[in-house]
Amino acid sequence: MEHDSPTSYARRVAIDPITRVEGHGKITLLLDDNNHIREARLHIVEFRGFEKFIQGRPYWEVPFFVQRLCGICPVSHHLAAAKAVDQLVGVEQLTPTALKLRRLLHFGQTLQSHALHFFHLSSPDLLFGFGSNLAERNIVGVLEKYPEVALQGVKLRKYGQQIIMAIAGKRIHGAATVPGGMNKPLTIAERDALLVDIQDVLAWSSEAVALNEHIHTGHPEHYGFATLRTNFLSMTGSGGELELYHGGLRARTAGGESIIDQFDYRGYRDILREEVRPWSYMKFPYLLALGKEQGWYRVGPLARVNNCDAIPTPLAETARQRFREFGKGGFVHDTLAYHWARMIEALHCAESINELLHDPDIIGADLVAPHGEKRRVGIGVIEAPRGTLFHHYQIDAQGLIEKANLIVSTTSNNQAMNESVRSVANEYIDGNEITEGLLNHLEVAVRAYDPCLSCATHALGKMPLQVELLAADGALVDRLTKGVSGEITRSV
């Protein structure tokens, strides 16, 4: 890992909430004396401030407040906060129905988010090629050329949202949890309506896995693209299996050695630290045991599918085994394999949804567990679609939030995204000029991580992006900007 001292570039890069342009990605590439890229900085300039402005609010409002962090995965924030709130009211164990409803909700959410990411955002790059014509490299282009694939994506996402709607009352930003439980049972009619399409959903998810396996294994040039050998962090179930709702933390080195395992996430501060760098609003978390330089890690589908010992649903487990075979028994570090892993998880979600819909508990009426002794600290962790998500709240004696700390998934991938960008830039830089091809490849590298920023910015393949190349002395060498309508402008 390479990074500068905070002061050496302090005059060159200034990010201010006032000057932010929401929905724009900005990358700065810093050259060394030999004109190699020694550091890449993906600037996250969206300023949210949720941790600050929920201070002083009643704790029971929090799951509803924080879900507004995102329009793609609000359920993840809602559930992570709800898990923290359960602890605040002294609930250790939800009722079987409430737990299964939350899991169903989470599977629906992950399915729709993964479907959105692959089919709407990434499939155009992967099906048409990274440098292909921008006019067709979008979901509309996919609909024209691969209508079956595009429609399956749309329907998968719709199905995930139907689940959210049935449980939370709205497809986006609903209301599902209460302290220690859920606010509404799933009716038999709602369950039966969801059962109608489940076999199709299973088939579409299986096809999506096969398509992604084919895309990745069939393109050897993808293997090394933006690829890094990194540590992985994820939650696993008590038997080491893939687990998205509740489990212990597992971190492994790039070679597969255990750093932590079955770690109670409520002690996350004992194993994680967050570094602040002056040029980004996004922090840089690292595993304390390995230190700042070596301790950064990746989260999300690639981390989870690599880290787990098994997937507890049969079709996804078979897919996982093929994935691991591709890694020749070791971890698959290919950054573009995120897409493949993501679809394996989507299949796992579809299978889990099927199981839960056939579970008699899912239509139970016992929704709220008795509250126990109140606590002042609640820490909820969940595997959100983009990775491990930490919500940590401290309340005062009156029930108002005193402190909050959120480590969102994209934050954990921060260093890895920068490193991937550096790797791609070094490979595709052409002298001292930023080319359109480089711009496209950088975009693909960032998008593999499915960062929140890509959700916000990737409007039908037209992610506005600015790339700057700075010489060792900080002078601007080149600057290329792609606007929302795809037009490229150069300004030096």
Partner: protein, 275 residues
């Protein structure tokens, strides 16, 4: 016990609202007569059974013909709001019904004025519907929908008033208070206490608590009091509850704010019980 209305054969005890003839009893206000006849006049600070207050001004109606506004300033306001010049704007909740009144209620001009008032109520406080536990059960929100309010129009004032969570089971979020004084009147007239009052003037007006420390914990407010449940917005809430009635079952998922006699439904939802 109200006196029986005197019957006058020459002038029947009726008023006319938007062309509809409505009977009234002596002592009734325009609002009383309208509600009894099933006619909705938008309101926030009014509640049958409590002394009319006339503070929210949402129930402003115009009475035509006589008693027109005599002040130039009143006329200017009326003109700028496209309200009939030859009429008098009054609060329906405080204006006694009088035989022969020709009243306009549901007109575009009046609803525009009401919408502006509602916008001002929104921007004066911190009404963040997406995270508020009262959303879907909030009368202010419902009235805003009813009037077709799409934005706050005016710059947000974003106040920072004190949240009082000192009470064991009731929390007071002053940033959501619309100064309707329903809690003040409920405490005094129904609960037989005197827990709340409004202090300060104009933009500095705010809800205060009648206790030595000024804190709810030191007042005699109890969870069973009507004052703890009557708030039409999310300013006074029962602690550690919220979002318990699922989306689709909340008051205004099932009802229109213009339905007459909704008060018991709203109160039940505040107590977190479904219909």
């Amino acid at each position: 016990m109200r006196a029986e209305p005197k019957r006058d054969t020459a002038i029947p005890n009726t008023i006319t609202i938007d062309g509809q003839e409505i009977p009234f009893s002596i002592g009734q206000t325009i609002m009383d007569a309208a509600l009894a006849a099933g006619v909705y006049i938008p309101h926030l600070c009014h509640r049958p059974g409590l002394t009319p207050h006339g503070s929210c001004k949402l129930c402003t109606v115009s009475i035509e013909g006589r008693n027109v506004a005599s002040h130039t300033a009143d006329r200017r306001i009326q003109a700028s709001s496209s309200v009939e010049i030859d009429s008098r704007s009054v609060s329906a909740c405080t204006m006694p019904a009088m035989a022969g009144q020709q009243i306009r209620n549901n007109t575009p001009a009046l609803n525009e004025v009401r919408k502006t008032i509602t916008q001002m109520l929104f921007i004066e406080g911190n009404h963040l519907c997406p995270s508020c536990e009262k959303t879907g059960d909030c009368t202010l929100q419902a009235v805003a929908y009813h009037l077709g309010m799409l934005d706050g129009h005016f710059p947000q004032l974003s106040p920072r008033r004190e949240v009082d969570a000192s009470h064991g089971s009731v929390v007071l979020d002053r940033d959501r208070c619309i100064l309707c004084e329903l809690c003040v009147r409920a405490s005094r007239e129904v609960d037989g206490k005197n827990v709340f009052a409004i202090s300060g003037r104009g933009i500095d007006a705010h809800l205060i608590v009648n206790s030595a420390s000024g804190k709810l914990a030191d007042s005699d407010l109890e969870t069973g009091d009507m004052a703890a449940h009557i708030c039409p917005v999310g300013a006074i809430l029962i602690k550690e509850h919220g979002y318990e009635v699922p989306i689709g079952r909340r008051t205004f998922d099932l009802h229109r704010v213009s339905e007459i006699g909704l008060e018991p439904v709203i109160l039940a939802k505040v107590r977190h019980t479904d219909e």
